[in-house]
Subunit: 335 residues, 2 copies
């Protein structure tokens, strides 16, 4: 890229705003302006001092020098920002969940298709997980034969930070499957290489938050794609004794081998994260992926500069988010 991509951030409700911004800057983009709630904007401005804070998101949306709008607003506020950005010919990079209903997501998708600009969703449990990226590279090279199934666990710790009210309201957060399980849907599609998929069964429960009636602290879904199956499970039970926010795991079952990713921790095992275990016809091997380069942000900036997304990846991102929201909508609520 000759000129750095200039971007603005609208909505700092999720801490992912910081990670998304950091990744884009490391990859060479320039943060121009941001808008968010005063408390979050204050911290954000201190971390990224070169950018201007805006009291009105229109200052970002209407700035013709800005090519990319990043959004980590409260989930039910994201689509309107995305549609506005795409309608103005800007690319959009949104935290998951991109929307809180399949209807809303379809709106975002129509805006993306009309504009032709990239609309990336921050599926960080793959895109920023070095071991998961390495696993995908190995799968694509045929390391475990044909992929038959993925099983993804996305446990999270609820008490790490004080949570805002919207966090406890599925209609605003997207629900546990719409939100957390979207990562799992993304991995299921990426690893099975499915381009069509359906939700076979889904369920949610609230087992340990009796004071938050509508909250869901457990969810799971069974998926079937045109090239493999998947099971996704998410929860908010991670206990303090783990030492990290969640024991994110991905198991990829192939006809000739298996891959297991221990993303953030190897419990009572090796230090650090980004552990990949490969079993094939020859051996069982631990692969330390902690020094791998993450390609996601620079790939996104290339697409932004080009003005168009990678077609299959764009379709997959929408399908992953759709599956998560569809699972949420279909889910049986367990007693």
């Amino acid at each position: 890229m000759d000129e750095p991509v200039r971007f603005g951030v609208i909505g700092l409700a999720h801490l992912h705003a910081f990670a998304m911004t950091g990744l884009l800057r490391e990859a060479g983009a320039e943060l121009v302006a941001f808008h968010g709630e005063p408390a979050a904007a204050d911290g954000f401005g201190k971390l990224f001092p070169g950018a201007r804070t805006c009291s009105d998101p229109a200052e970002i949306l209407d700035d013709p020098t800005i090519g990319l709008v990043v959004c980590a607003d409260v989930p039910d506020q994201r689509v309107r920002t995305g549609v506005a950005a795409l309608e103005r010919g800007k690319a959009f990079f949104v935290d998951k969940p991109a929307a809180v209903s399949t209807r809303e997501l379809a709106e975002l998708r129509r805006a993306q298709e009309a504009s032709g600009r990239p609309c990336a969703i921050f599926f960080s449990e793959r895109l920023t997980s070095r071991a998961t990226c390495r696993a995908l590279t190995l799968v694509q090279a045929g390391a475990i034969g044909e992929v038959v199934e993925t099983v993804g666990f996305g446990p999270h710790q609820v008490g790490l930070a004080p949570r805002p009210e919207w966090f406890y309201e599925p209609a605003r957060s997207g629900g546990i499957l719409g939100d957390l399980a979207s990562h799992q849907m993304d991995q299921f599609l990426a690893f099975t290489d499915s381009t069509e998929a359906e939700v076979i069964a889904a369920q949610v429960a609230n087992r340990s938050h009796p004071d938050r009636a509508s909250f869901e602290d457990f969810g799971s879904a069974l998926l079937r794609g045109d090239r493999g199956t998947g099971y996704a499970r998410v929860d908010w039970y991670t206990p303090a004794g783990l030492g990290v926010w969640g024991d994110g795991r991905l198991t990829v079952l192939g006809t000739e081998g298996t891959l297991e990713v221990r993303k953030y921790v190897d419990p009572a095992g090796r230090p650090g994260g980004d552990h990949l275990l490969l079993v094939d016809s020859n051996e069982t091997r631990h692969i330390d992926c902690s020094r791998d380069r993450l390609a996601f942000a620079s790939n996104l900036l290339t697409e932004v500069a080009r003005g168009a997304p990678d077609g299959p990846a764009q379709a997959r991102a929408f399908l992953a988010q759709h599956l998560a929201l569809e699972a949420q909508a279909q889910a049986v609520r367990l007693p």
Copy 2:
């Protein structure tokens, strides 16, 4: 027990006959007689030289000094032996699957109820897995709060031994879910402490045995019990590089912690099997269970001597096998 329990073995089609016999003898029972195909009977007789070989199973069924009949015949032959043994007032100890259809299983159950004698099913992936037994003890002591879900992986290596023809015919073997997944159903019921459960979805596939049209090398099922949910996955893909026949795993998700059992191998990790990982509010801990005592066989012999099973455990064994056969019957066959 004053007098040792005397037992006979009918059917040596599965190698489990050797394990079942060995466990009972170690626990103090006396092997009196056995019946099986000549090749298997030859090896069995050499391993257990004190017992007599019978050309007719009636010699065992009609021996009034025998209190327990063990059976590891071809799965579709097991129920008739079980019914005959129970009708004669003997206890019955059968390899999984106890039957190849829910209808057949109901027949066995009726015979057990009529006789009142114990009818144990050899769910070896719990009963002979020290780490799984320890995990259950911890769960029952409340170590991880309330159990929300179990996920069990039961991968197997197909090429370890030459497989007989019946192995490839689901109608005779019970199918991959009826057979292998019965272990997972047993663990799901034991760990969630569910006494009622249903199959929500089930699927099977043949992805790597194109020459064996009716064989199934993959299967999975989603279960819902009155006290928790479960996902069970089984397959015949284990590659030679693992070094053991399968990476059997059980993950138990609780509201206040998690347990992970690495039954037979800790891939690229600690040597040996029987690894238990506990995460709770205080710590993450590896527990080596390889020296734990297995109580199963001596408990069974106590029941046989008493002439009656433990009621809840008996009901659970039938329900576990029923769920597996029900999943098999309902399973969608994937392309």
